[in-house]
């Protein structure tokens, strides 16, 4: 361990730009994005949440309670692992993996649900609702609800229920009520609509755990704050293991919570380049993808202004991705802002590229990645090739792939 934060010459060098990426402002905006765009019935609820979070987040006791849960229940810190054989394939930059796949419940989602469950508890709510796409956030929500003895209801698109049957059963085992959403495109966005309807109806006793850095203020802020543990750990681990900050960070972006969690603690470190990898589906030159930052435009959906997949009439388009967790037409508003500020580069990996990276990581490192995370692995491997030997990349391995083996087998014509 040759260095630490206080002696690193890079630290403190860019203090003048420290305010540049500070968000949100007091009304919940990240530049032109974010804000509060919900029906009047829900305004009081989001304002109350903002107030409670503002108060609790200033109390050290709140963070101590959270840190204790993260250590003893989630299993943090998650390792930063040097992927030697993956590095050799690219013959370029060293590839490190931030192992969020090793968290309890198998993904980064639990960092957020543990935090929001604490908020629910402090607010005296007795019922939790959540939306889910791949089922990872639903499982993470059902898990914390079971632990706190709260009633839990998870909304899931009817099509996703079929795609992700094992996670549906996990949620049921955990005592959650899983509601099949049959409206619209029957996927994640429709599950979110239904959760918002439930919240408006049961606003008195219900806490809505949003699974990503989207939704009305203060969700993009508080989900980010809970996920920042990823980047804070990675920063310390990089310095401990390599003696310096990484040269590049790579994470997949659906709503963008694992990406913002990794990126945010590095935003002011100018030497660190960041890449958010969206779901390129069948290619950005087709309509079958889920890459609003690469190929969409700003609009308003689910409580915030952000880049969206929207058609000329302002209707939200149906998206496509091999991974249910990235199959969402919007993205967290802070990512939209970071795109416009050119602080983070947003790129895409196709279904095919992700699938190939899924196999590479499994065969070379003995780690089966989630299909979501496989998008980051795909782009990270390509990036490593273009970088010099001796440079370091951290790829966020946001989840494990056990939930996806049936999908992969089906796509490859293998009967289990």
């Amino acid at each position: 361990m040759s260095n630490n934060e206080s002696t690193d010459p890079e630290f403190g060098k860019h203090e003048s730009s420290n305010m540049e990426f500070k968000g949100p402002d007091s009304s919940g905006h990240f530049g032109p994005y974010g804000g509060i765009f919900v029906g009047e019935t829900l305004i009081a609820a989001v304002e109350e949440l903002a107030e409670v979070y503002d108060r609790l987040s200033k109390e050290s006791g709140f963070w101590r309670e959270l840190d204790s849960d993260l250590a003893h229940y989630v299993g943090r810190p998650s390792p930063l692992y040097f992927a030697e054989r993956l590095t050799e394939v690219g013959a370029g930059a060293n590839i490190y993996l931030k192992r969020e796949d090793l968290n309890h419940t198998g993904a980064h989602k639990i960092n957020n649900t543990i935090g929001q469950a604490l908020l629910a508890k402090h607010m005296g709510k007795t019922r939790i609702i959540a939306e889910t796409g791949a089922g990872q956030h639903g499982v993470a929500s059902a898990t914390v609800a079971a632990r706190l003895g709260l009633e839990c209801c998870v909304y899931m698109g009817a099509d996703d229920i079929i795609r992700q049957a094992p996670n549906v059963y996990r949620m049921k085992l955990l005592g959650a009520h899983v509601v099949s959403v049959e409206s619209g495109s029957r996927t994640l966005k429709d599950a979110m609509n239904e959760a918002l309807r439930d919240w408006a109806t049961n606003v008195d006793n219900t806490y809505y755990i949003i699974g990503t850095v989207a939704g009305p203020h203060p969700y993009p802020q508080l989900v980010r704050d809970f996920q920042c543990v990823i980047g804070r750990e990675a920063k310390g681990q990089s310095i401990a293991q390599t003696g310096r900050l990484p040269d590049a960070l790579v994470a997949c972006v659906g709503g963008g919570s694992n990406a913002i969690g990794l990126f945010h603690p590095f935003l002011e470190d100018e030497s660190v380049t960041m890449y958010g990898v969206e779901a390129g589906g069948n290619g950005l030159d087709t309509p079958e993808h889920a890459a609003p930052l690469c190929a969409g435009k700003p609009g308003v959906l689910h409580g915030n202004r952000t880049y969206l997949m929207t058609d000329e009439g302002g209707q939200i388009m149906e998206t496509h991705s091999i991974s249910a967790g990235l199959d969402y037409p919007g993205v967290g508003p802070e990512h939209s802002w970071l795109k416009d500020l050119k602080r983070v580069k947003y790129v895409a990996a196709t279904d095919k590229e992700a699938l190939s990276a899924f196999h590479d990581l499994t065969e070379l490192e003995g780690i089966i990645p989630a299909l979501e995370s496989s998008h980051a692995v795909a782009y990270g491997m390509q990036l490593a090739k273009e970088m010099k030997r001796g440079q370091n990349i951290i790829i966020n391995l946001s989840g494990r792939g056990d939930k996806d083996i049936e999908t992969v087998a089906r796509l490859e014509g293998i009967k289990l």
Binding site: S27, G35, I36, F37, V38, G39, E40, T41, L42, I43, A44, A45, S183, G184, K189, D190, M192, N193, L196, R197, A200, T201, N202, V203, D204, K297, P298, G299, V300, L301, H302, G303, R305, L308, T310, E312, G313, G314, Q315, I316
Partner: protein, 272 residues
């Protein structure tokens, strides 16, 4: 004086209640929507709320969601909604049209173009469910310059301090949401409605109308007794769902479909 203000003044003068049906533009198609609008007026509607179809209507219950899906299956976007409004306006100069919908289609069209199209189509007001006053400044200015009313919702969860802010941003009429929930849910808590309307009265001289959960003549009457008028949406859209999607319908079918409005009119007229 805007067309909405004029109608509201007349109603007040005649001691009458405002009856405001809501229908999704283009449900089941534009031609039928136009016939329905004229029939609604014939059966006693004072103002027509025209829903702008949006793929993600997160404040609406299942009945209106399905109406929106029917309209979207015919590719009814804002441009078609304005076409419908204009066609109605050519034949009816006095009944105000209020658009009701979600912000994204308006954002994508652009605020300025939207405001100009409203004027060109003879639309009188707009209510954007997911645009609270704090996010409305820019659009509000453009609409005010054109004498178009911007209507906001007040909910049972709205704090007194917030009600004051909403009242200041609203023109035309105030729309009180009778229940915690989505459109078409069951209305149960009459006491809270009475209490909240009384408080709103102290804050504003604007006409107050009540909507969400009004299903029939009885609930129409009960709510109208507490306010200046009522909105009926889901109960009408449910009837429209029974029409086929052919372009033209027999006069009697259209008239039957709108009967819920005619019955509400009678109930409202009975209030002394």
């Amino acid at each position: 004086m805007s067309r909405i203000q004029l109608i509201a003044e007349q109603a007040k003068h005649n001691n009458a209640k405002l009856l405001i049906p809501y229908t999704v533009a283009g449900d089941p198609n534009i031609a039928t929507s136009l016939s329905l609008m004229h029939e609604l007026v014939a059966q006693g509607a004072d103002i027509i709320e025209l829903g702008i179809p949006f793929s993600d209507p997160s404040s609406d219950g299942p009945v209106i969601q399905r109406g929106v899906e029917r309209a979207l299956s015919k590719k009814t976007n804002l441009t078609e909604v304005f076409g419908l409004a204009l066609a109605f306006r050519r034949q009816n100069k006095h009944t105000p049209i209020v658009l009701m919908g979600y912000l994204n289609p308006i954002e994508i069209m652009g605020y300025e173009k939207f405001a100009n199209e409203m004027v060109a189509a003879g639309v009188d007001g707009v209510l954007i469910v997911d645009m609270p006053p704090a996010e409305s400044e820019k659009l509000s200015g453009l609409l005010a310059e054109r004498d178009i009313d911007l209507i906001f919702l007040v909910a049972p969860t709205t704090t007194p301090c917030r009600s004051k802010e909403i009242v200041q941003c609203t023109t035309g009429y105030l729309y009180y949401v009778s229940l915690k929930g989505v459109t078409g849910a069951a209305l149960t808590d009459f006491d809270s409605v009475t209490k909240n309307i009384t408080k709103l009265r102290e804050l504003s001289d604007l006409p107050i109308v009540i909507g969400f959960g009004i299903k029939d003549a009885d609930s129409a009457r009960a709510m109208a007794e507490l306010s200046d008028g009522i909105v009926i949406g889901s109960a009408l859209v449910e009837k429209i769902a029974q029409l086929g999607d052919q372009e033209s319908h027999e006069k009697s079918r259209i008239s039957q479909t709108c009967e819920v409005i005619g019955l509400a009119r009678q109930a409202l007229n009975d209030i002394k």
